[in-house]
Each structure stands twice: as C-alpha cells, then as structure tokens.
C-alpha cells in the first residue's frame, strides 16, 4: 500500500517565475523523508508538485517528471484527480470541513470515490482511520459533532485520519505541526513514526529537531537570494545530514549559523 517516488529534472514555475530548479530525488517506499530549509526556498512548493496540487494556483506549472513507482504523474493522460486520490496531503493549518461532523470528515474522501458503503463498513473505516490517527479514544463519543469543535492538535489528527481513510500510497505533510503546541506536536510525530510502517511519508518542516526525530532521510533546500529559484542542495540519511553533511551550506543551516 505504499509506493516510491522518483523525481527527475523537475523545474517548478509560477507563471514565468522559476520557483524551484532542477530537482532530482528518490524517495523510498515506507520511509519518512523530511524537507528542510529556510522560508521561501521552495520546499512547500516542491511538495505540492508531488500530488499535482501545485497547478491549482493559476499560472502554476512544472517541467520534468515525477514517477510514482515508475508512472509519470505529469503524463498527459493522467488525471490530477486520480493522482490526488492516491497521494494524500495534510496541510499546515488543520482544515477539517467545518460543516461536516467528525465522522463525515473521515468519510469525505471515501465518499468521493462513489463507493457504496454499508453503515457497518463505514463505522469500521471511521474507527480504523481515527485509531490510525490516535484520535479514536478522544472522539469516539462525539462522532456526530462538528470537526471544528476539536482542539487544533485534534483537528490536525482528524485531517490525518481523513487522509489515511482512502488508503493512499503516499502521505504528504506540509508543516503539519507548525500551528500546534508541543504536546500535540509530539502526538503527531509519534503518529508519523507509526504511519511509516504502511505509508510513504514526506514531511516539510521548519523544525530541524523534528526532522531529526521523525525522518529516515532529509533533503535540504536552499535559495541563493530573493527572486532566485530554490534548489535541492543535499539529500542523504538524516543522521548524515545532521552530523557530517558534505556541503558547507547544509552544515551552516543545521548548526543554526544561518537561515
């Protein structure tokens, strides 16, 4: 239930502006990969190209290939809707649907696929997904309540439950903890460690300790200056990146000397 991602010569544009230049990266299945780097270096932009969410913004486009187990996401015959169904995403700010109950939020993605589900199947899926997101015990008595009534950390776990309910191949997380307190952050980090067993997880984070705690491999992105494109500087095992990186800029960044 998880696939690897290989990115070949990817350039990412906003209209004419080249935002991220020439990325080559191989992301293993069933691993956690962290993207780190200073603000504006294009790591979130790059993450959004991995499930074709980048092109939602008017004028945004890419050149190059993103291969999901060898299949190019940007092939002309590929429907972005199908891609997004297989590669789930969790956003920076928790975004459960405010008009839906907790239960309906979890089932939202499944219902999209027009699957006819019996009530008991749906109940099982809700429990399995919420348990998978470590949220079941906190919400099992109020599944019919609105998702927006939960705390920020709970809402974010609800979003993760919503993402895993459709059994995606890959889960992308765009700074999932940046709006959360340390305890909720810890809960999400634990969860990421568990998700690794079944899913390929890619996480963007500003928090280097977080990258060090949760990821197997780390990619460092950097930008030469304002208006210049972001680039992938170094990509290696997380321990290598944080202990003996081969490039000076990476070392400066992880040791806090800049950025």
């Amino acid at each position: 239930m998880s696939k690897r991602i290989d990115v070949k010569d990817l350039n990412v544009y906003y209209s004419k502006f080249l935002a991220v230049e020439d990325v080559n990266i191989n992301i293993e299945a069933r691993s956690v990969t962290a993207f780190i780097g200073p603000s504006g270096c294009g790591k979130s932009t790059f993450l959004r190209t991995l499930n074709r969410m980048h092109e939602v913004i008017p004028g945004a486009r890419v050149e190059g290939e993103v291969l999901l187990d060898g299949d190019n996401l940007y092939d002309t015959a590929v429907d972005p809707v199908t891609v997004r169904g297989q590669i789930g995403m969790v956003f920076q700010r928790p975004n459960p649907f405010p008009t839906m109950s907790i239960r309906d939020n979890v089932l939202a993605g499944v219902k999209l696929n027009n699957k006819r589900m019996s009530k008991s199947d749906a109940d099982d899926l809700v429990e399995k997904s919420l348990s998978g997101a470590n949220l079941w015990n906190e919400v099992k008595d109020r599944l019919a309540r609105p998702g927006s009534g939960l705390s920020g950390g709970q809402q974010q776990r609800l979003c993760i439950a919503r993402a895993i309910a459709v059994s995606p191949q890959v889960i992308l997380m765009d700074e999932p903890c940046s709006a959360l307190d340390p305890i909720s952050t810890l809960a999400i980090e634990d969860l990421i460690n568990e998700l690794k067993a079944e899913y390929t997880v890619v996480i963007v984070t500003h928090n280097m300790q977080q990258a060090a705690r949760v990821s197997d491999k780390t990619a460092f992105f950097n930008i030469a200056g304002t208006g210049k494109p972001g680039k992938l500087i170094e990509y290696d095992d997380t321990t290598t990146i944080f202990n003996k990186p081969s490039i000076k800029a990476t070392e400066d960044y992880v040791s806090g000397r800049f950025g």
């Binding site: 297989q86 975004n95 649907f97 939202a108 927006s148 993402a163």
Partner: protein, 349 residues
C-alpha cells in the same frame, strides 16, 4: 514584601507611619522597579490620553443616531400602517370591496403574491447560483470579471423597464407556449386552458420577476463563493475531488447561509415588486391556472387602485400593504431561523 501595585501613589517609602524596616523595603522595591525601567506610578493607567478620544465619541454618536433613526422610521411606518388600516377591520363586511369582508378580499391576492414570488424563486435560485458558481469557480478570470459587470448592470435596470419588456416582448412570445401547454399538459391544474392569448398571465409575471431577481441572487452568492477559505477548497482537491465535488464539499456548505440570505433578499424583491407585475399581469380572480388571465398580487393591486381610492377603499389598500409587510417580516424571520439553526456547523466557531 510590597509590590508596586499595592503601594499608594507618590507616598512609597516616605509614609511616616510605616515602621522603618517596612519603609526601607518599600524604597528598595521602588528603586528596583526604576532600575529595571518599570513605571512606578499607578497613575499611568488612570490618566486618560486624549489621543483618539474625540473620534471615538463622534463615531459612537453617529452610529447610535443611525441605529435609532432606523428604528424610528420602522416604527413610524408600522404605526402609520396600523392606524390607517384599522377602519378596514372594524367596517361592515358588506362595505369592503367584494362585499364579503376583508379576509375574502385579501386572501386571493395574498395567494397571488406568494405564487408569483414562488415561481420567481423556483426559476431564479438555481440559475442565480449556477451563474455565480460559473463566475467564481469555472470561468477564466477575464471572462468572469466581464460577466460580473454585466450581472451588476442587470441589477441596476429599473423595474418599469423590465415590466415594459415583459409586456411587449416576452408576453407575446410566451403566449404561443401557453397555448401548447394548455393543449398538451392541460390536465395539470396549473396549465388548464384556455390559455391567455396576450400572454399576460401569472407565469409571465413570475418569469419577469425571476429575471429581476437573478442578478440579486447571483451577485450576492458570487461574493460569498469567492470568500470560501482556500484551505477548505484545497482540502477537498487534495483528497482527489473534482471541481464540482470540491464545490459541493467546500464552497456550497460554506456559502449556505449567504445563499439563503441572497434568496431571501430576492424573495423580498419578488414579493414587493409592483411596477413589473402591474404591467405584465392582467389581473382577475384567483385561479389555479398560471397561463390564464387572472390572479393578482398585493403590490400591483395597491398600485393600480391607489390613485382613485378614497375613504374606506384607501384604508383597505393600506391594510393590504400591512399584510404584505407582515408576510415579508415572517419570511425574513424564517430565513434567520434557518441560518442560526446550523450555526454550530457553519465554521464560525
């Protein structure tokens, strides 16, 4: 230990009735405060800064006056309606138009008013929402902007022009359709023949009203649709929703209260619209058929008869106005109720 907060202003440390040790401590505390740059005097909180104070007063005065003015106008209109309408309710039933009392006079035109408004909304709401969605989420940006201007322009056309257009252009065209309806669907009570040959019927009035209401519903809904949080739109898209599914999951639920408000505003216009109906409809007795001459709305009834009315007839028409006022009030209250009932799920919390 005393802190700056319990100390009386300006007497810190010099109060002679404190024991010397306490005095010594107080001085030390205030000196620490000074060293650390803290303000020692509690007067800073009490002393008023004049900055912006006058502006505040003027603004609150203006908004209070405006609020009172609205209430006063509303109140005086209500009083006028009640006082002027009162003779109708106490008059001898035979003196009322029709000769059977006020209820049997007003009921047919109340029903006529509601029918016209319902036809208008049934046609205008789906079209208005669809056009608004097209502008906000489907059309290319440049086209959407041009389209938006045109819609706003439609809302600005005076109702007498819509009435004239309905009378001269639309009604004759529709008359042919009505004949067909009467021949083929005559078994449905709404389409019982004989169809009006001029086309000046309830259905025509409803359609003209719909055309007038569409721009209102469209421009309000479009504003609401555009305010849908990107966060929720992206949540739906990232789950693999198509554009229409995204609209259904994120946009429409978010916009629901706004759509209801827009529809209610449209309904208000449809209920109260006078000129267009007066021009387009040949009034007559209440009947189920929408394609026959007949039926009447309150607003048109008042407008058509007001110039020649005097005495009790005038009171009667004002009473009809009172009924229209009450209907509009009820409609608005129902709308409020629908909106608040779902507050919990609105995302406002």
């Amino acid at each position: 230990m005393m802190t700056g907060r319990d100390r009386p202003p300006f007497t810190a440390g010099i109060s002679s009735d404190l024991p010397s040790s306490a005095r010594h401590r107080a001085v030390t505390a205030s000196e620490i405060d000074r060293l650390e740059g803290r303000d020692v005097s509690t007067h800073t909180l009490k002393a008023s800064t004049d900055r912006g104070r006058a502006g505040d007063k003027i603004f609150s005065g203006i908004s209070l006056t405006a609020g009172i003015l609205i209430l006063a106008v509303l109140f005086s209109v209500a009083v006028f309606l009640l006082v002027q309408a009162a003779p109708t309710f106490t008059a001898d039933p035979t003196e009322i138009t029709g000769g059977n009392g006020f209820t049997s006079y007003i009921l047919p035109i109340v029903i006529g008013t509601v029918i016209a408004a319902i036809i208008a909304l049934v046609i205008a709401t789906p079209i208005g929402i669809a056009v608004a969605l097209f502008i906000s989420h489907y059309a290319p940006r440049r086209l959407a902007r041009a389209f938006g201007y045109v819609i706003d322009l439609l809302a600005a056309i005076p109702s007498v022009i819509y009435g004239a257009w309905g009378y001269i252009v639309l009604a004759p065209q529709l008359a042919k359709g009505y004949t067909w309806l009467a021949e083929n669907l005559g078994w449905i009570p709404f389409f019982t023949g004989p169809a009006s040959q001029t086309g000046k019927t309830m259905l025509t009035a409803g359609i003209v009203l719909a055309v007038m209401v569409i721009p209102i519903i469209t421009s309000l809904s479009r504003e609401i649709f555009l305010q849908t949080p990107t966060l929720h739109e992206e949540a739906a898209l990232a789950m693999g929703a198509t554009r229409w599914e995204m609209v259904r999951m994120a946009v429409l639920p978010f916009a629901r209260p706004g759509i209801i408000s827009a529809t209610m505003l449209g309904l208000g216009r449809a209920l109260g619209e006078t000129m267009a109906v007066a021009l387009v409809l040949s009034p007559g007795a209440l009947g189920a058929s929408l394609i026959r001459t007949g039926n009447q709305t309150i607003a048109a009834e008042i407008a058509l008869n007001f110039p020649e009315a005097f005495g009790l007839r005038l009171n009667e028409l004002i009473a009809a106005g009172l009924v229209l006022f009450v209907i509009t009030l009820i409609v608005n209250m129902i709308a409020r109720f629908i909106i608040t009932r779902h507050k919990e799920f609105s995302g406002a919390n």
